[in-house]
Structure formats: C-alpha cells, structure tokens
Amino acid sequence: MEYVAAGALGFLGGMLGGLVGVGGGVLFVPALVIFLDQAQVKAEATSLLAIVFVAALGAYRQYGYGNVRVRDGLVMGAMGVIGVAGGVAIANTVSGRTLELMFAALCLMIAAQLVRRVLKASRPAATDRAPGPP
C-alpha cells in the first residue's frame, strides 16, 4: 500500500512538473519520507536520481517545442556542480530534523509562489477574453 501511495505521489509530481513547471522533486522527497520511511537526507538523495530521468524527458519534450536555449542550459548546468557540492555537504551535515524543517519551509515558500502566480494571472483576466477559435 505504501508503495502504491509513493508511486501515486511520483505520478502527481511528474504531472505537476509538466503542468506548472515545478513539481517533481518537491513531491518525490515527501513521498519517500512519509510513505517509505526514508530519512530526509536519503529521500533527497534518491529524489535527485529520479529527477535526472524526469528532467531529461521534460527537457527533451521542451526542446521539441523550441523552448530550450541549449548553450545557456549547459552553462548553468556545468556551473551547478559547485553549488550542488555545497548543498549536498550541508544536507549531510545538519540533523535530519533540521533538514526536514527546512524542507517544510521550502514547501510553504513554493506554495506561496504558486498562490501569488494565480493571483497575478487572474488580474488581467479581462483582457484575455479575446474570442478563441470556434
């Protein structure tokens, strides 16, 4: 049953990632912590591996739509190695409880970001009402 729940949250994470641009990892991590009893740092580690494949599929699809500036992506990705090493080192140093609370704060931050985006999007709604295709 826990496996089903974790898989379902994974599915949802992928789907939300495709729909709203964020999603994958921020749901993979709690899926692993809550349903599969993984320590926070281990859940984060495993989430990163899953993200490699999900992001690769997402990037491939986006590339097909012409939305990927390949060189810019490679520059950022190449440079990411330093930041990643720092982040992973901290994740492995602080206590599990601290990391869990920091992650909870991240969830709330992203939730606020989403709500803000919805509010912003609903303001100019009047001008969006151009007649669509029949």
Binding site: G21, G23, R61, G87, M102
Partner: protein, 119 residues
C-alpha cells in the same frame, strides 16, 4: 555571449545547484524566476532551459549523494517511473484543465506536506 550574461548564467547555475543539492529538488524554483527577471527569458523558455540545466545538476547531486551512500535506486524507480508517465499525462491534459486550479491544488498539497513534515 557577453561577459555580463555569462556571469549571470554562472551565478544562476550555482544558486540552482546549491538549492538542488540541499533539498533534493531540481532547482527550477530558483532558476526559472531568475532567468525571467535577470535575463528576460519568456516563461516557457525559462522552464525549458531550466530543465536542461537540471538534468546535469541533478546528475551531479545524485552522484555526490551516492558517494555518501544515500541513494536507493529501487525507490528512485518507484517514484521516477510513475513520474515519467505523469509528465506525459500532464502534457496531454494541459489544454483541457485550468492551470489556475492546478496551481492552487498543488499549493494546498504542499501546505499539507509541510504540516506532515513539521508535526
């Protein structure tokens, strides 16, 4: 590529990487808005380009965490394989469901997750 632009990309990559490594997420939460505000990317381009960077960033993170002995490949498949199906499904239903409702639902899910982790 101008020097200013290159420096901004390098800084965004570093910040996104740090975020990704610390939280086990992709880092898009940081990368996408910075691409939009600092480099005037459109939202779709920012998301697409961010995903390309995340493939590399998450790969470094996974390797780094594997060295610490924290990665569980079986569990990665358990959430990752349904997630791949989710990406395809999400794209297929995108035109038919209101993005605002999805965003709000996602926000509620995240608040519930935060509560579960805190208590």
């Amino acid at each position: 590529m101008t020097r200013d632009r290159l420096l901004k990309l390098l800084l965004i990559g570093t910040l996104g990487g740090f975020f990704s490594g610390l939280f086990g997420v992709g880092g898009g939460t940081v990368i996408v808005p910075l691409l939009i505000f600092w480099l005037a990317f459109g939202e779709r381009e920012a998301t697409g380009t961010s995903l390309a960077a995340i493939v590399l960033i998450a790969a470094y993170g996974a390797i780094d965490q594997a060295i610490y002995g924290n990665v569980n490949p079986g569990y990665a498949a358990l959430v990752g394989v349904p997630a791949l199906a989710g990406v395809v499904t999400g794209a297929a239903v995108q035109q038919r469901i209101p993005e605002r409702a999805v965003s709000l639902l996602f926000a509620v899910l995240l608040v519930a997750t935060a509560a579960e982790l805190i208590f």
